[in-house]
Amino acid sequence: MPDYVHPDVLVSTEWVAGHLSDPNVRIVESDEDRALYTQGHIPGAVEIDWAVDLQCPVERDYIDRAAFEKLCAERGISNDTTVVLYGDKNNWWACYAFWVFKLYGHKDCRIMNGGRKRWELDGRPWSNERVSYPRGSYTAREQDGSIRALRDEVLKHCKAGKQLLDVRSPEEYCGERMHMPDYPNEGAVRGGHVPGALNVPWPLNCNDDGTFKSAKELEKLYVKDLKMKRRSPTIAYCRIGERSSLTWFVLTYLLGFGNVKNYDGSWLEWGNCVRVPIAKGAEPGGAKAAPAAAHA
C-alpha cells in the first residue's frame, strides 16, 4: 500500500482471498442495495445492513450497546476478531459500518480496498450460499464520543470557526438541491451548508476502480489545496452521515488527522433545525471564510 499514515486498516482483495477460511477473520459486506449480498457475496462473508441492522428502529440513533453485542455475536464476531468490511459504491456503506464498529470500540477493523467493484474486476468468485458461524462472544464499550458529533457540538464548532467539511455534491452544498443528484428528497426543509464548511465531495477520495486515491493525491486535496490542519478538530457531515463516514475514514486513517468526528445527524437534521445558521452558495460563508485558519 502507498504511504498512508495507518496502512494497516486497508487490505487488498488478494489478502481477503487468502483469509477466507481464517477463523480469526470475519469478512462483512455492507451495501446500499442489500440484495447484492443475496445475489452473490465473497465466499464466507456475512452481511450487516446499515438500515436494518445498525439503526435503532424507534429513536433516530444507532442500535444500543446491548444490540450491537448481540449483532456481533450472531455474526460470529468476538472482541478479538479481525473484521474486514467491504461493499458497493466505493465502500461507502462499508466505511459507515466501520465507523459504527469503532463507535463501540472494536479493535481490529479493516476495509477491503476497492470493495465489490475491485473484487469483480479481479475476477474473483461470488457465492450465494447461506453463511452462519458459531456465536461469538462480544462485549462492546460505551459509545466513543470522540468520533461522533451531535448537533449542539456542531453549532459550537461552527460558531468557533473550526474545521468543517461538507462532503455532499456541490449542488447540495450550494442549496440548489436538498438531496443527492438522482436521489429522492429525504426531507430537509432548507438547503445550503453549515457556515464555514468547506466542500469536498466524497467521490474525490476514490479512483474509478473503487480503491482509495493515493496518499499523495489525498494530501494534495485536503492539506495542500484546502490548507486543512491535521491537528485541528474537524467535523465532517453529509446528508445522513454515510458519505461523511468515508471521508472520516480517509482523514483519520489514510491522512492521519488527529481529531475527526462524523456528524451523523448531518443535513437531514441541520436543514430541519430551528434557528441554526445556514450559508447558501458556493462560498463557505459565515464569520470566518477560511475555517482552517481559525485554530491552526
Binding site: E32, D33, R34, A35, L36, T38, Q39, D49, A51, V52, Q55, D88, R130, M180, D182, Y183, P184, E186
Partner: protein, 154 residues
C-alpha cells in the same frame, strides 16, 4: 371487480395479491432471494428500446441507480418496459414485479394500483424506510405514466 367486490382474476390487483402471497410467508433472507429471482427475470431491452433509450429522456430521476422506464399503451393495454442497472437488484426485482402485475392489463386498471402491497409483502422490514421510499416513488412514477397515457387517449 366482480359483483361480490373481489378483484377479478387477472386484474392488476389480483396479480399483485398473488405475488404478495408468494412473499408473505418467507423469512427475510428468502424474500431477498425471491426479489433477486424477479430481478433476473427482467428481460433485457430489445434493440428498438436500446435505440430509444439513447434518443429519449426516460431516466427516472428520483431513482438512486440508473432506471429507464417506458409506460405505453398497446391496444389500450399497459406495456411497462424497463432497464435497471445490475448493481441495483432490489429496484430491478421490484420493477419486474410491477411489470408482471400491469403488463397486458387495461391501462385504466393501473390507476387502481396502490403501494400498500409493499407493506403486505413485508419488504419494508427487510429494506428499511429510506429504501422503501424509493420504491414508492417508482410506483407513483408508473401510475403517473399510465395515467398520462390514458389521458392522451392512446
Amino acid at each position: 371487480m366482480t359483483p361480490d367486490g373481489r378483484p377479478s382474476v387477472n386484474s392488476v390487483q389480483h396479480r399483485l395479491d398473488a405475488i404478495v402471497g408468494e412473499f408473505a410467508d418467507l423469512d427475510g433472507r428468502e424474500k431477498l432471494e425471491l426479489l433477486v429471482d424477479f430481478a433476473k427475470g427482467l428481460q433485457p431491452l430489445s434493440r428498438e428500446y436500446e435505440a430509444r433509450k439513447a434518443a429519449e429522456d426516460r431516466r427516472v430521476h428520483e431513482c438512486q441507480t440508473p432506471v429507464f422506464l417506458w409506460t405505453e399503451a398497446e391496444d389500450g393495454r399497459a406495456k411497462l418496459t424497463a432497464e435497471v442497472a445490475p448493481e441495483a437488484p432490489t429496484v430491478k426485482g421490484f420493477v419486474a414485479i410491477l411489470a408482471e402485475a400491469v403488463n397486458g392489463r387495461p391501462i385504466g386498471d393501473v390507476a387502481a394500483l396502490s403501494d400498500e402491497f409493499l407493506d403486505r409483502m413485508g419488504l419494508i422490514d427487510i429494506l428499511g424506510m429510506m429504501r422503501a421510499r424509493g420504491l414508492r416513488a417508482i410506483v407513483a412514477r408508473v401510475k403517473r405514466g399510465f395515467a398520462q397515457c390514458e389521458a392522451a387517449g392512446s
